[in-house]
């Protein structure tokens, strides 16, 4: 009977039942996709759209075409920000080898190693705002520890955050502190997955020191390295909080980065040029796009090769 019952059903099976298996993943994706569209994709196009207007955020929008971009490419502050962004990108990359170094150093079995590991990881846990404040005091003229040290060593102190040539490097140093910790933790987990048999085999072949690291360990850490580079690039490009906390873009705008300049123009106390801010956002987006497409291309490529 039962057998006969199921036999007679097929023509009653609805379209939904028929395609349930195929549809389910898409249905689960819908909420995520909606939020991604509303909060990420649509704002990107809105930024492009807004960048063609002269608008203070309250009054009438006035369409001015590409004038915002024209002004942007004639704006010294924009080039200062762009230059600083490049410095950030290059120097921030130091976090990757430094994180690797510390991870290898900590990857041993000593009493209390967990405590040391957590101490090294600590700066990543505290908020960027706190990091910024600590370093701002560290550099502070007249009473900062760093200032006093330099004064003691050379006779005259250096106020890093007041010096237009040094200020960006000073902020990057502050940013590296937590970023190194982040890379370190990525590598520590990576090191757990390193195959001990391969290491033993390499030892038997008399590999040691740098060669061991370069040819045996690092290839096995590829996924960790990839992640570390991605988060560091993104961290460098959106380096906003430290600049805002430590210098507010100063002295006279010499520590601005694009994301901070965008905020300043569009949203800060003296800003409210939404169109101009959007134009900066578009430029920043295009720069990020270069990296993001690079990363995505690599991920797809790796997947295809079955890595």
């Amino acid at each position: 009977m039962t057998h006969a019952g199921t036999q007679s059903r097929p023509q009653h099976r609805s379209w939904w039942r028929e395609n349930q298996q195929k549809l389910t993943p898409y249905i689960f994706l819908i909420p995520g996709v909606i939020f991604f569209l509303v909060y990420v994709i649509i704002p990107i196009f809105e930024s492009f759209w807004l960048s063609g207007f002269d608008w203070d955020g309250l009054g009438e929008k006035e369409w001015i075409g590409f004038s915002n971009y024209q002004e942007l490419f004639d704006d010294d502050a924009f080039y200062t920000s762009l230059k600083n962004n490049v410095i950030w990108l290059v120097l921030y990359m130091l976090a990757v080898p430094a994180g690797l170094g510390i991870a290898i150093f900590l990857n041993q079995k000593v009493r209390g190693i967990r405590a040391y590991k957590s101490l090294f990881f600590f700066p990543f846990v505290i908020s960027q705002v706190v990091v910024g404040l600590i370093f701002a005091w560290f550099y502070a003229p007249n009473f900062g520890l760093f200032y006093k040290l330099i004064e003691w060593a050379t006779g005259s102190g250096i106020a890093v955050l007041a010096d237009p040539d040094l200020v960006t490097y000073g902020i990057i140093a502050a940013g590296l502190w937590p970023q190194i910790a982040y890379c370190m933790i990525l590598y520590l987990t990576g090191l757990n997955a390193v195959d001990p048999e391969q290491i033993e085999a390499a030892r038997l072949d008399a590999a040691k020191g740098f060669k061991m690291l370069w040819y045996v360990i690092l290839p096995q850490l590829r996924p960790a390295t990839f992640m570390a580079v991605v988060v560091t690039v993104i961290g460098a490009l959106r380096s906003f909080d430290l600049v805002s906390i430590m210098t507010d873009g100063g002295p006279f705008g010499s520590s601005r980065v694009l994301s901070f300049y965008m905020y300043e123009q569009a949203l800060s106390e003296y800003g409210y040029r939404m169109g101009y801010g959007a134009a900066i956002a578009v430029v920043l987006f295009l720069i990020m796009m270069v990296f993001i497409s690079g990363f995505i291309w690599k991920m797809v490529d790796d997947e295809r090769k079955g890595l």
Partner: protein, 412 residues
């Protein structure tokens, strides 16, 4: 269900308890006060409510920086009935975009054009008044008397004497002028005074309104006066990394002699241990004797947003706030000056007294402050330029060209 029941029971209880409560009208007021002025404003509100028992003011306080960013949002989205802001060009964006209500009728009805005469120009746009001022304060030079004694110099009468003193201070290892320009604005105070003393009030306002080129020789003359301080290194080093309070500490410690500041700094100096015996105030000295003396006195104001729901009662409160009693009370607590000419000031406070005399006898005119007189974008560019000039005086021509380029774009 249950909550509805409780609410209705309590509502009945309230109505039964006091019939007046049933007709109570509320006025929503957003402001950004520091603790002491906040307490005073709450007293003023309590007095107002006592005089008008059917009106209740619902006050909400914000911190300064948060207020400046959120005002744009709440004015357009959910406007209160009253909101704090500033006079001069600083209120122009809200007036021009129709966010603030014209309150000329309050001025007419209560004779405010007479009693608040000193602030009338800075509250007027297009011949109408857009809010009510309740306080202002003088700027000038605050100095450490002990530092003067240590360097063995007298308090200067003229700009030349001031510069001569600076050499003596330098000799004694004391910064002649201190400032902390991390937040940019303190540098603008120095520029405003140098420019008003060199070229006068009219020129200064024309510059702030974009009517004069930044590369004009008269602007360069102002910077030439400034160079007398910058080039010999009479201004605190590393001021670009200092907050204004950090620089105040230098003055308190006697490491600096003079500070061009607003009167609000007195509280900070005194917290640091200075007294009326060690802290002095002098008006910014005369540079060009041919221009009438003008002063700087930023004015704080209260406005009615266009989206207000209880305009009538909000206007009542504005009228009350403009009166001598309210202004006396709130300014006594703020340590600032009332605008109403019938209000009284604390005669025991030498700085308040000096400020009151200074401002009420100003022949040249009263400026608001560079970041309130000039439009926001120009103010930002200008203050960055002033800071850069004090760090890199050799860049003056580049700075002025940059400002001129900005002027042509901003005021078009």
């Amino acid at each position: 269900m249950r909550s509805i029941f409780t609410v209705s029971v309590s509502a009945i209880a309230v109505i039964a308890g006091s019939a007046a409560f049933a007709q109570e009208r509320t006025v929503k007021y957003y402001g950004d006060f520091d603790p002491a002025p906040l307490a005073a404003m709450q007293e003023v509100i309590a007095d107002f409510e006592a005089a008008n028992p059917d009106i209740k003011i619902e006050f909400q306080n914000f911190d300064h920086e948060g207020y400046k960013t959120s005002i744009r949002n709440f004015l357009t989205a959910e406007a209160p009935d009253l909101a704090n802001w500033y006079a001069g060009n600083r209120m122009a964006p809200f007036v021009n975009s129709g966010q603030f209500m014209d309150v000329s009728d309050v001025w007419e009805e209560h004779g405010l054009k007479e009693s608040l005469a000193s602030a009338l120009p800075s509250m007027t746009i297009d011949g109408k008044q857009w809010g009510v001022p309740y306080t202002y304060y003088q700027w000038g030079i605050y100095y450490n008397k002990e530092a003067y004694a240590a360097a063995g110099v007298e308090v200067p009468e003229t700009w030349d004497q001031f510069i001569e003193n600076c050499a003596a201070f330098k000799e004694a290892g004391i910064d002649c002028v201190t400032t902390g320009t991390k937040a940019l604005w303190p540098g603008a105070g120095i520029f405003d005074y140098l420019n008003m003393r060199t070229n006068g009030y009219e020129f200064h306002m024309a510059l702030a309104n974009g009517e004069v080129e930044w590369t004009d020789d008269r602007v360069k003359a102002t910077f030439a006066e400034w160079a007398k301080l910058v080039e010999p290194g009479y201004i605190t080093q590393n001021h670009a990394a200092l907050d204004w309070q950090d620089a105040a500490a230098l003055l308190v410690q006697g490491k600096a002699a003079n500070y061009v500041m607003g009167n609000f700094a007195v509280a900070v100096f005194k917290e640091g241990g200075m007294t009326d015996e060690t802290l002095g105030f002098l008006p910014f000295p005369t540079i060009n004797p041919d221009v009438p003396r003008a002063e700087e006195a930023p004015t704080d104001t209260v406005h009615i947003p266009s989206g207000a729901s209880n305009v009538e009662d909000a206007k009542k409160f504005l009228a009350y706030l403009a009166g001598p009693d309210a202004q006396t009370k709130i300014n006594a607590a703020m340590g600032q000056l009332p605008i109403n000419k019938d209000a009284s000031v604390n005669e025991d406070d030498p700085f308040i007294k000096a400020g009151f005399e200074l401002l009420s006898t100003t022949p040249g005119g009263i400026a608001q402050f560079f970041d309130r007189d000039a439009p926001a974008e120009m103010a930002k560019m200008g203050m960055e330029g002033f800071q850069q000039y004090m760090v890199q005086p050799d860049q003056l021509d580049n700075i002025l060209e940059r400002l001129e380029k900005a002027r042509q774009r901003i005021y078009k």
